[in-house]
Symmetry: C2
Subunit: 353 residues, 2 copies
């Protein structure tokens, strides 16, 4: 591995819990609506799906934040629902309402019809975008590939859309556990194949977003979400391209189960802002690196407040190796890009101009 | 205090961590839309606000769940936003969008204009409803009075309505901490006066709902929410009617700060379902009773699953005094009332018919 003082490898060194010259930082949803250049490309694409499914456009927005800010990683621009879409559930977006699936899963028979999509066929645009991004990045920073977790995909697959309390998917899990486990197993195999294809195409780290795992009580989380995160980790260890890549798991809100998450075989855990990094670190010990965890709302405050709150997160983690700075959730569209520059400089320990 | 085998005092004995013949149970939002008799009264009232602000109607719906089920407590039917409404912010409801405040707080000058409403004047309909409920309950079960927390009220007062990420109120707290503390202090004094008036009118336990405390990082939670919960507890200890009443605090999602919550001087903590009761009990020790914490979505599952999950929560707490069974959040409108009867019987250890 290269030396520690280089933007191109701080991120991977921190994930490996090796010393770095400055804490690496990237931002969930960094290629997003808060950036005017993103909005321009999105406009040109015509729709969100077209943007995500056209490798040249996806590559363009993936690189935008890395060119504007001194970020230490790029993350592929895509959507977690590409996998259920490739399974035939009919992903579409309704203005102001978020993603929807036209053919939700409502029974054991619906589950039995699902198969693992071949990522180089129906999801070909994703590895194509990965290849293009790697070429355009020219080694400046590593590229993260990602997918949704089996549980989080199941939430959308059963509800057909987002939900406030996900009661339909929870009732399905409680009333039809065998069908739910069959669904989670096909999702886990599909996600592992999808991540392995991104690894083969050149992704240098992999992340699984378990956006709705934290809606579950701890026993249900371990049965219906964490177990399938461990299955993905095991499948990736058997893959020739993915086995050497660090895997980051982010189960938002599932702070009761950090120990179980750290035992899945992942390299790092993403954390939301409702737990301090020092407490999290004491609970998981040296098993994994930690990624997080500034409240995204902090970016709406003044530059001085942003610097102070960044310092608080860095101090919470302390002078140990193994921290990747991030927000505790995606950046929101109302953020001033100048505030992101303040954050990145503060993380790197640069004095403000 | 009366004996342990009587529905009329199980709840208060459990809050005092005294032995009981069966775990007491009540359900957040038990007077609500899942009940056909509630929907009929609500229809007759014409609007939600009219229902909440007419003592005879509020009393009628308060008693409905207690008459239908073997619940161990009644909770006054009201709304947490009655206090900002009495402060002049103009509470109204927009169909399908939830509560709104016509004149939100947006500056230090707006905060400076706020005062503590006299509960026997502008909020008179609340102590009137308490008096009526006590008379109609005839000692069958205790009556709980309640209010919103200073932080949660501030969320609505600044945002003007609910929010997904409450970024406006968080930015206000970060950018204008002095104005935010002034707002939280007036809210704390208003809530304490309001709860004291409910105590004087006959409420037998008091609860504060901190619905949005869990949106804050731990340091901000302790500065902007927990501190004002402690202020309310201190003010109530100095009140001749409230000082002997148990105070229950429920900061949904703030599980990182249970120790700080237990140190506020409250009698009990409400818990959501994302932490097990045994872990919570180990963290707070014998300082407080615990109330909770079944996932409300469980009520959409089959009776057998409901019984199993109730058993799991009871077993999590274990054979100690000091447990009040409840959901981890309000019951949802799509629940079959027959499932509530299953839950109540399961908590009380009764064999199903």
């Amino acid at each position: 591995m290269a030396d520690a003082s280089d933007r191109s490898n701080r991120f991977l060194r921190a994930l490996a819990r090796q010393p770095v010259d400055a804490t690496p930082v990237w931002i969930m949803r960094q290629a997003g609506r808060y950036l005017p250049e993103y909005r321009a490309t999105r406009e040109r694409a015509g729709s969100f799906l077209k943007l995500a499914q056209t490798p040249e456009l996806a590559c363009e927005v993936t690189l935008q934040p890395v060119e504007r800010f001194e970020l230490d990683a790029a993350i592929l621009f895509s959507d977690i629902l590409t996998v259920p879409d490739a399974m035939g559930l009919g992903l579409h977006f309704v203005d102001g309402e978020g993603p929807k699936l036209a053919r939700p899963v409502r029974s054991a028979a619906d589950v039995a019809r699902l198969g693992v999509p071949d990522p180089e066929q129906s999801l070909r645009y994703v590895p194509d975008a990965v290849r293009l991004c790697r070429r355009e990045l020219r080694g400046r920073v590593p590229l993260i590939g990602f997918a949704g977790s089996p549980w989080t995909l199941a939430c959308y697959m059963i509800e057909g859309q987002g939900s406030r309390d996900f009661s339909r998917v929870k009732a399905f899990a409680l009333n039809e556990p065998a069908a739910m486990h069959a669904l989670l197993d096909v999702n886990a195999r599909a996600v592992a194949a999808y991540l392995a294809a991104q690894a083969a195409a050149g992704a240098q780290a992999l992340m699984v977003f378990d956006s709705w795992g934290g809606m579950l009580a701890p026993a249900m989380f371990e049965e219906f979400s964490c177990r399938y995160l461990a299955e993905i980790a095991a499948l990736l260890r058997d893959d020739p391209h993915a086995r050497d890549l660090p895997l980051i798991l982010f189960s938002k809100g599932a702070n009761a189960s950090l120990e179980a998450l750290a035992d899945t075989g992942c390299a790092a855990l993403g954390l939301d802002w409702t737990i301090t990094l020092d407490r999290a670190r004491r609970r998981v010990g040296d098993r994994v690196a930690l990624q997080g965890n500034l409240d995204p709302a902090t970016l709406l405050a003044s530059p001085d407040v942003i610097r102070r709150e960044v310092r608080r997160v860095l101090d919470d983690f302390g002078p140990h190796p193994g921290h990747v700075f991030n927000l505790g959730h995606g950046i929101t569209p109302d953020v001033d890009p100048a505030h992101v520059a303040v954050l990145v400089d503060a993380v790197h320990g640069k004095i403000a101009a």
